[in-house]
């Protein structure tokens, strides 16, 4: 292991202990290379990356230290590339990685690897802008929250019917066939390997068949429901739908949005829909506010998609597509989401109206990225949806279903 102190990398003078400052581990301690040997600096650097949300475990540190034996340490760019190929796995985090690298190992200039000084301030100002816009959002939402929503208007018998229908639909969704097979005695496909084995005793005459059957695979489902003002008449029913799905399928994540996105899965864990609705109405400040689908989906893609959406996840968006945000953001986020998930379904209550055409700017932007575009204004339309979920991903453009 090459742990030779190298003045270029080690910052030869200061052998600063991490605990020096009031015995606490504080940010500046690992923000730059302060140790006199390279291996320890690499460990500190990994710690800095971790504190900034990058994955850099001791196993990777070990690899870096091993790799340092093979590379030309005098070549800074090579050193940078080595660290990058071992410690960075996500191109979206490269800018952050570069900044941290520059900050930590800083002090050299190398044409190729130079990271402009201006970049740091730009990012800072971008951050502060974000904070500002967030705070203005918050006050905007507070105003919107004045529009109180009382759910008691809905007749209980209506909700009951919706609930029952939703359970049927949800069960249907939950039993999609997988491409994988399992062994059974009554399946549709012969399993040659096991058949041969079972029939050795008959001298190769096949008397007993082993069969395969497609596994029932429970898809993961993410539902994102628009609860803005224009959706007012429908959102309660749609939330009921989400609630039933969650109780049948289990693996379902629920979100609502108006001007911002809120994760509400945990509220649906109450078996009583009424309680769940009240909880959500209380927790979501911008209920019945404006609509910013693109920005809400951006939040979703940014913060949740990575963990919650994979190639077998069905994502259902419930919205009328009357967007007041930026449509190009919406189109971009829809494309991102579509490429991640198994199927992207948009349920639009307006689609049930006789003369509706999806010309609203937001809807038009989203349409090319959908697998299914369907109505969701009554129970018949929700049942229709269940049928469409049972068929495989169709070619684009989306099939439009009017129930």
């Amino acid at each position: 292991m090459n742990t030779d102190p190298s003045p270029r990398y080690g910052g030869a003078v200061s052998l600063q202990s991490v605990e020096n400052e009031a015995g606490q581990r504080v940010w500046p301690d690992i923000s730059r290379a302060t140790r006199s040997d390279l291996a320890h600096n690499v460990i500190d650097f990994a710690r800095l990356l971790r504190s900034s949300g990058l994955l850099a475990s001791p196993a990777e540190v070990h690899d870096v230290v091993r790799a340092l034996r093979f590379i030309d340490l005098a070549d800074r760019h090579e050193f940078y590339l080595t660290l990058r190929s071992i410690l960075l796995w996500n191109p979206d985090q490269q800018e952050m990685f570069d900044q941290l690298f520059e900050r930590f190992w800083g002090g050299w200039t190398d044409e190729e690897a130079v990271i402009q000084e201006e970049r740091a301030p730009t990012m800072q100002s971008a951050q502060s802008e974000q904070v500002e816009s967030q705070s203005s959002d918050a006050s905007y939402s507070a105003m919107e929250a004045l529009i109180e929503k009382d759910f008691s208007d809905f007749r209980p018998d209506e909700l009951g019917a919706v609930a029952r229908a939703c359970v049927v639909i949800a069960k249907r969704v939950a039993t999609r066939k997988s491409r994988r097979y399992r062994i059974t005695s009554r399946g549709s496909r012969v399993d040659p390997r096991r058949t041969i084995r079972r029939n050795v005793k008959f001298g190769g005459t096949v008397l007993e068949l082993s069969k395969l059957e497609r596994k029932v695979r429970k898809p993961r489902i993410v539902v994102i429901c628009d609860v803005s003002r224009s959706m007012e008449q429908y959102s309660v029913f749609l939330l009921q739908f989400m609630h039933s799905m969650q109780n049948v399928i289990g693996r379902i994540e629920s979100f609502v949005f108006s001007t911002a996105l809120h994760r509400v899965s945990s509220y649906f864990k109450h078996s009583d829909i009424q309680t769940a609705l009240e909880d959500i109405a209380r927790e979501v400040p911008d209920w019945s506010g404006g609509t910013r689908i693109g920005e809400s989906l951006h939040t979703f893609n940014q913060d949740f998609a990575r963990r919650l959406v994979d190639q077998r996840t069905v994502v259902i968006i419930l919205s009328d597509g009357l967007d007041t945000g930026q449509t190009d953001v919406l189109a971009e986020e829809m494309a991102r989401l579509h490429s991640r998930c198994a199927r992207l379904i948009w349920l639009n209550p307006l689609l049930g109206k006789d003369h509706y055409q999806p010309v609203a700017r937001g809807m038009a932007a989203a349409l090319p990225h959908l697998d299914v575009f369907a109505a969701a204004h009554n129970l018949a339309s929700l049942q229709h949806l269940a049928n469409s979920l049972a068929t495989p991903r169709g070619p684009r453009p989306a099939r439009t279903l009017v129930g």
Partner: protein, 312 residues
């Protein structure tokens, strides 16, 4: 043989692969640390090529596993040759072998189809290059299985026992990033992101790979492609498209870009009907005219000017 990053770069350049420091460093580290390389990037930027070139440069076998949804362990690892087993059982019908002996006989190596992963592990002479292409298309179960193979380089076949790799293969995985791979798999690998090439690199690649292309045409094609990637396209063309295009233009005896020939061959680079409808005709012609007016030796930074003409 391999002494440093520089020698990897030379090795790959000898194979006509235009490389850069990032690619060469990662490949070099993969060879030294014996870790798989995970290569991500948009379609058509030469991800697969890295493995091919590596195999060629090392003069070893390239074993390729193409992933798809529903790919299972059997297809990737091994399958039993059932017809052969059946026939053998017929032959042995009158023999004195017991049922157990017969079973052992037909579940032995001659009755085994080796699929890519098993081939890679049981390669006898020297470590092969194993290319696992488009891993993002396979499902998570397969990813988990792969993780196991990549950490132990051994495989257990219930009827035969455990087979251990004689030589650890060099492994390259590619992904188009249609889904996020598990952290566990990424962690096992060195990471390499290959982006669309720069103007200089693209011109160089065209020049190296397409016989009969002259300097000016290579520069013009590269300039066009650099600009085209900034158009609002639903399918952005990669370097593979540039090469196809260059070959087509040569076949039409073109030595520089001309609106008519470009329109005829537009299908080489635009592969979506909507893209063609939107850009074929005046907009593409305006771009070609803009390129034709510029000095072929001075196209490196012409992208904005070319784009401005397309938008006008």
């Amino acid at each position: 043989m391999i002494e440093g990053v520089r020698s990897v770069q030379e090795l790959m350049e000898r194979e006509n692969y235009v490389t850069d420091r990032a690619i060469a460093t990662t490949v070099f580290l993969a060879m030294q640390l014996r870790k798989p390389i995970l290569i991500e990037g948009p379609a058509g930027v030469g991800k697969t090529e890295v493995a091919k070139v590596l195999a060629h440069a090392l003069d070893t076998r390239l074993i390729r596993l193409q992933c798809y949804e529903g790919l299972d362990v059997n297809t990737a690892l091994y399958e039993w040759n059932f017809p052969k087993q059946m026939l053998r059982m017929r032959i042995e019908e009158g023999s004195s072998l017991s049922t157990l002996e017969k079973e052992q006989l037909i579940f032995s190596e001659p009755f085994l189809f080796k699929r890519p992963l098993l081939q890679a592990i049981s390669e006898p002479d020297q470590p092969p290059v194993l290319l696992i292409d488009e891993i993002d298309r396979a499902d998570e179960e397969f990813e988990a299985f792969l993780l196991e193979v990549l950490s132990d380089f051994q495989v257990t076949i219930p009827e035969l026992g455990t087979i251990e790799a004689a030589h650890r293969p060099y492994v390259a995985l590619t992904s188009n990033r249609t889904r996020e791979l598990s952290d566990a798999l990424k962690r096992r690998c060195l990471y390499l992101w290959i982006d669309y090439p720069s103007f200089e690199k693209e011109a160089q690649i065209i020049q190296n790979k397409v016989p009969g292309v002259n300097h000016d045409l290579a520069q013009q094609i590269a300039a066009f492609m650099q600009a085209a990637r900034h158009l609002k396209l639903s399918k952005i063309p990669g370097i593979a498209e540039s090469l196809d295009w260059a070959v087509s233009l040569i076949a039409l005896h073109q030595d520089h870009l001309e609106p008519e020939a470009v329109t005829e061959t537009l299908g080489c680079i635009l592969k979506d009907r909507d893209d063609i409808v939107r850009y074929a005709g005046p907009r593409v012609e305006a771009m070609v005219t803009a390129i034709a007016e510029l000095d072929p030796n001075n196209l490196a930074n012409a992208q904005d000017r070319i784009l401005a003409r397309a938008e006008a």
